[in-house]
């Protein structure tokens, strides 16, 4: 196997400060976005966005929610159907 001499090109030497600076900036940006995510999630911000699937959690809260059913109807044969007393007619 031929061993090539690993001489650093003069261009890389000249641009070292620029490249290192960019590396630091990019790493700092990653840290910033990560920190921002942590700060937003821990302070309880809404993180969900629309992902082309309608979801109940995205609907605005109903100002007049329906009252809970006082006499629920149970399907025959399901647990609690007898206890509830009202069984849906087949």
């Amino acid at each position: 196997m031929v061993m090539l001499p690993r001489v650093e090109h003069e261009l890389h030497k000249r641009r070292r400060s620029r490249n290192l600076g960019l590396l630091v900036v990019l790493l700092a940006f990653v840290a910033l976005v990560f920190g921002l995510s942590i700060a937003k999630i821990t302070s309880g911000d809404m993180m969900e966005g629309y992902d082309h699937q309608p979801r109940a959690t995205m609907l605005p809260a109903d100002p007049n929610p329906p009252a809970p059913n006082a006499a629920p109807v149970a399907v025959p044969g399901t647990p609690g159907a007898e206890a509830a007393g009202t069984v849906a007619k087949p």
Partner: protein
């Protein structure tokens, strides 16, 4: 032989030259005023989110600085004060300044929207547009009122900071805008009084060039008078208090008295003592703004009205 080494330029731009494109000294003013606007707002922000918001506002300010250096390279090369900037010095190509300015504009607006809210982000985008297009490209070379209208761009950061926290605009943020807006002309005209030769050479229609120094002195005093009521008014809003009012009263008295002193001086007197009073007034203007915003911070800390 074709060799990449044959393409040696006269000098290679280092990382610091790209940082210099963002006008770090102007950025420091943006950081400070935006931070004060954000911090004294009535809605508290998570400290890390607040830190990021100020950083992105500063980045937006830096981006507009890079766009300014791209467009103004020809003027900068002529003026002594700006000849060493990276583009006229031949370190950074003009295209690089434009690319950096546009890229950072987009990045800073998007990130501010994600970090704070989209109203603040839109406000930042408008500020960058105002500084780069309205001031740099349009007004700077066409009217002696360039400083007055361009000063609005420098006055927006505390309003953007306030918008980050509250999502809107308040009388307090409008008055902080007025404070910087009316402060900018006397600040820059005082500089122009003793830097006149630079602007004459570059053909920038500064008031000193188009209307002479006597008119400029009158304008400085006029703006100092207009500025004072807005500065004091801010002390009577929800962010004011005794500390702010006392500091503001003293500073405005000094600023008006200094303006009066400038008004009564002739050019011969100024040349005889090498513009000593004009230089002192310029320094005073720097303290004026810094101390007003520091007083707002302290007032918030000890409790406003």
């Amino acid at each position: 032989m074709a060799d990449i080494n044959a393409y040696h330029g006269p000098a290679e731009a280092g990382f610091g030259d790209y940082v210099a494109l963002l006008k770090p000294r102007v950025m420091s003013l943006v950081v400070f005023t935006a931070f004060v606007g954000l911090w004294i707002a009535p809605v508290p922000m998570n400290p890390f989110v607040a830190f990021c918001a100020v950083l992105f506002i500063a980045l937006g300010g830096g981006a507009s600085g890079a766009l300014n250096m791209w467009y103004d390279a020809d003027i900068d090369a002529v003026m002594k004060r700006t000849a060493n900037r990276p583009v006229p010095a031949g370190l950074v190509p003009k295209g690089d300044a434009l690319a950096l300015g546009l890229a950072l504009s987009g990045l800073s607006v998007m990130m501010l929207g994600l970090a704070a809210n989209w109203f603040a982000a839109a406000f930042l985008a408008f500020t960058i547009f105002f500084y780069a297009v309205v001031y740099t490209i349009w007004l700077k070379r066409s009217t002696p009122q360039n400083i007055v209208i361009g000063g609005a761009a420098g006055a927006f950061p505390p309003m953007i900071g306030w918008a980050c926290a509250t999502g809107g605009i308040g009388i307090e943020s409008l008055l902080m805008f007025a404070l910087i807006f009316f402060w900018t002309p006397p600040h820059f005209w005082a500089l122009a009084l003793f830097m006149n030769n630079d602007y004459t050479k570059a053909g920038v229609p500064m008031l000193t060039v188009t209307h002479g120094r006597k008119v400029t002195r009158r304008h400085i005093f006029g703006y100092a008078l207009v500025l004072a009521p807005f500065a004091i008014w801010l002390g009577f809003t929800s962010v004011g208090g005794w500390i702010y009012l006392s500091v503001s009263a003293v500073l405005n008295l000094l600023f008006i008295a200094g303006g009066w002193q400038l008004l009564r001086r002739t050019d011969d007197q100024a040349q005889a003592d090498n513009y000593r009073i004009e230089k002192r007034y310029f320094r005073l203007s720097l303290y004026y703004l810094f101390l007003h915003f520091t007083a707002l911070l302290i007032q918030h800390w000890v409790g406003a009205w």
